[in-house]
Each structure stands twice: as C-alpha cells, then as structure tokens.
Point group: C2
Chain length 254, copies 2
C-alpha cells in the first residue's frame, strides 16, 4: 500500500489519535506495515507507542535541522514505524510558520524517505489548523475526519469541510476525504441525530462504519497498546477492523 | 464576586467549554452575573451563546485595534455577558505572539473594564498552550482544569501541572488551581481508576464534585442553551450547581 492519509478534525477529543493508533494496528495485522506520523506537539500517539526524550529525536529535528525522516523512524511493537512528536514541535508555527515553502516540506520529506519501497502513511495532528496539520493535508491530499457523535464535533466537521474546499481552490487539486462517526452510543438519540445529519450532509463521503463508544478503546493507551492487543474481542476492535476493510475495499486506502 | 478564573486543559474535548457555559449559567442563576470570555478561535462558546459575524466584533479587535473590552461585550440570555471569539483570533499567535507585553494585555484590559463594579470572569480557551491561553492564566492567576475520566486527559493534566509550576517560577506568584473530573461514568472501572490517581496526585486541589457523563450536557449546545435551561432536572444540572456551591464555599470563587 502507498496511500498517505491525514487524520484531522479541528475539534478536540474526537478520536484522531485513537483512529491513527488502531487503523495503523489493523493495517499492520494484515501484513501492511504502516508509517505513523505524530505531528501533535502533545505527542499522545508517541506517548502510547514510543516516546522520545528530546526534540532532536523527533519530527522537530526534521523542521529545525532538516534531519531525514528515515533517521527519525522508530519501530513499533505491532509491526509499524513511528515518526515521534515532542513538545518542541510547538515552536514550528512561530519559528518556521512564515516560511514560504514550509507547508510542502513534509511531502518532500516523505517522497525522499519512500523513494524505494512504499508503505501507507497515517498522520496524527493536534486540533488546530496550523502549519503542522496543514502540512499533513498538503502531504497527503487525503483526509479522514473523525467526528465524535456530539454537536460541537459536528460543527467542527462542517467548518472543516469549508476549509477543505478553500484549500482545494489554492491547491488546484481535490482533497479526497471521508468522515467517520466515532464514540457512537446507540442508546442515545443524539448519536442517531448526528448520524442522520452527517448522512444528509456528506452522503458517500461518510464512512458506513461507525466506531462505537467502547471503553476498551479508552483503556488501551494506558497500557501502551492498540485495541487488538488489549481487547481483541471488543466492539472497538471489530469496528476498527471493519473500518479498514471498508477503506480498502472502496479504494480510499491502498 | 470578583474572581477571575481560566478554565484550561491542553487536552482536547475534556469539557472546558461545557464547564464555562454551565458554571457561568449557575452563577447567573444565583444573581451573580458573570463575564464569560471566549478565547478559542473556534468560538464554540460564542456559537452557543452569541456568535458574531466578523473579527472586528470579537476579542480579535482587542488585540488588533486595542478596542476596549467594554465595547465588545454582548448580553447572554441567562443573565451574563460574553466577550465573543472569532476564527480571526488564530492570527494572534503569529501576528502579536512575539510582542514582549502581549501576555499581560488581557489582564490590563479587564482591569480597565472593571475599574468600577466587579463581576466574576470565566475564560474559555482552545486546547493549546499559546498566547491566548497563557494570557488567560496571566490575567487570572487561577485555573480550573477539567479532566475527562480517561488516561489521555489525565496525562494532559499532569503535564499542565508541570507547566503551571514553571509559570509560577516566572510569575513569582502562585497560580491557584483546582482539578475537576468530568464525563465520569460510575459504571466504568476506568473512571474510578482515574479518580483514584487524581486524588493521590492532587489531594485537596481535586474538586470533590465530579461531573457525571450526562447526555443532556452534550445536547444543550445544539439549542443555544445552558444545562439549567435545557434540562434542569438532569444529573448534569445538579452536578454543575453542586460544583458552584463547592467553589464558593471553599473560597476558590468569590
Ligand atoms: N470510540 C471510543 N470509545 C471510547 N473512548 C474513546 C473512543 N474514541 C476515543 N476515545 C477516548 O476519548 C478520548 C479522546 O480521544 P482521542 O484522544 O483519540 O481524540 P483526539 O481527537 O486525538 O484528541 P485531541 O484533539 O486532544 O488530539 C481519549 O481518552 C480516547 O481514549
Ligand atoms: N459531562 C458531560 N457529559 C456528556 N457530554 C459532555 C460532558 N462534558 C462535555 N460533554 C460533551 O463532550 C464534548 C467535548 O466537550 P467540550 O467541547 O466542552 O470540551 P472542550 O475541552 O471545550 O473541547 P475543545 O478542546 O475542543 O475546546 C462536547 O460535545 C460536550 O457537549
Ligand atoms: Mg490526539
Ligand atoms: Mg472548547
């Protein structure tokens, strides 16, 4: 597989990190080892999988010292590689944010790193539309937008759709996207209402798979594990496996 | 009352906006009309209570044109005032972030606005430690940290505690704080585990009140309402009323 995918929603706490972690693990379990990129200065994904002690060992070094991405990659237990984040990444917006070419650097870096063999790339970001998250969108041209089943997350997704359309104007290129309902609680009327509004608004761009609210998904980070290692029989594991199947069979991921 | 309080946690989706909204409404219902300040460029609180159509009518104008805060205040149905946010606030970090005095501007602005009568001030921010959220901490010296009952939010709170201690060094002044467990689900073992770790780590700084996971709290934003107006008999309403009672009786809020 060689697809690059940015997982982004400007709303906080909607399941971006949870999705990169478990979609990545689902790929690895199929023998398709992915590269996971943590572009969140709060480094939640890295804290779960492979924390690093200094900015020099993280994606910050790519921006500050042009370190090749291949040198920054770390192995992850479930058979993936990780480009770790670090709090020093907070400086990227202020230090390099005004540079004319900064938004294209990540794409170039990934092209260099994968000049030979390809592997799918999943990118996690913080909930803010800044240099790092924009770089993930520019580097991939393909976005998966998790939306927790509540109104404020829906609002964030609708705003993001407008932003993506504006970006397409600038990029003169389509940004492929899928919207993913997460933290879905079938007992709540609100979950179903959000689902209905998303179907109306996004149609075929809304994933048919919905990730259920499943406590095992919230537990696995504390153990440094993905859902398949922590609770393979859980609803959360089934849902992320089903999501991968859907994204592969519809060609959104390859 | 004249307390100023920043509601902050660098983790996304932990209930910052929900807490400012409903603690503010609880104060208003006691006849203590608060000023709510939305410093989140995504303007969720403003979207619920009083959206504005341009940056010029928002807190952005305070930073870009030194508009007096009194001119930017809007009335809120439940008997409060709001200083609205707007997406243009995203520019504050890049445009004014390097200015030496920018972190103290909000405090000065509030001092000018309240030279006469005092009212409590609650400040909502985005989940990132940048110019705006730091300004809210500098303007108040008092922080309420919502922590949703999951490990990634706990991790954010522990990191924030370290940041606050570092800030105290710089400010040469204590930053008063309370930690507030939110989205607590008594049926989940994880909720109780997080609770135990917070008691051990924060002791008396942990609020005794825990905000339960209560779907009414997630519904009220879609109606532009606070919890007391939307579902006064709900667990969410009782919990935020109880939180106000605790903060007043312990003197954290006055
Ligand atoms: N389907 C789910 N069921 C139960 N808990 C979930 C689910 N998805 C995510 N969570 C939990 O909800 C919290 C928020 O999820 P997560 O951190 O992945 O969101 P995020 O969008 O990456 O947040 P941020 O904006 O802070 O980066 C986490 O504690 C996570 O473990
Ligand atoms: N106690 C609760 N019970 C049920 N739902 C809640 C509760 N607290 C918050 N929510 C819902 O969870 C979502 C996240 O809460 P909220 O937006 O207030 O967090 P936040 O910290 O302000 O997020 P952000 O970091 O994006 O600003 C919202 O949809 C909100 O309505
Ligand atoms: Mg995350
Ligand atoms: Mg908020």
């Amino acid at each position: 597989g060689c697809t690059r995918l940015a997982v982004f929603n400007q709303k906080g706490g909607v399941g971006k990190t949870t999705t990169v972690l478990n979609l990545g693990a689902a790929l690895a379990r199929r023998g398709i080892a992915p590269l996971l990129v943590d572009l969140d200065p709060q480094a939640h994904l890295s804290a779960i999988l492979h924390p690093v002690g200094s900015g020099a060992q993280s994606m910050f070094a790519f921006y500050s010292d042009s370190r090749p991405l291949a040198e920054l990659m770390r192995s992850v237990d479930f058979g993936a590689r990780l480009l770790p984040a670090h709090p020093e990444l907070l400086k990227v917006d202020t230090l390099y944010g005004k540079g004319p070419g900064v938004l294209g650097l990540l794409k170039d870096g990934l092209d260099v790193a994968f000049a030979g063999a390809q592997q799918p790339v999943l990118i996690d970001s913080c909930p803010m539309l800044g240099v790092l998250s924009l770089s993930s969108i520019f580097a991939t041209g393909r976005v998966l937008v998790p939306i927790s089943a509540d109104y404020l997350a829906l609002k964030g997704a609708l705003q993001l759709e407008n932003t993506l359309r504006a970006l397409e104007h600038v990029l003169k290129k389509r940004v492929e996207r899928r919207y993913l309902l997460t933290r879905f609680d079938t007992r709540r009327r609100m979950s179903h209402e959000i689902g209905t509004r998303l179907v109306e608004r996004f149609g075929a761009e809304l994933c048919e798979t919905r990730i259920a609210e499943s406590v095992a998904l919230a537990e696995s980070p504390s153990l440094g594990r993905d859902i398949f290692s922590h609770a393979p029989q859980s609803r959360g594991a089934r849902d992320y496996e089903q999501l991968l199947e859907e994204l592969l069979s519809t060609g959104f991921l390859e």
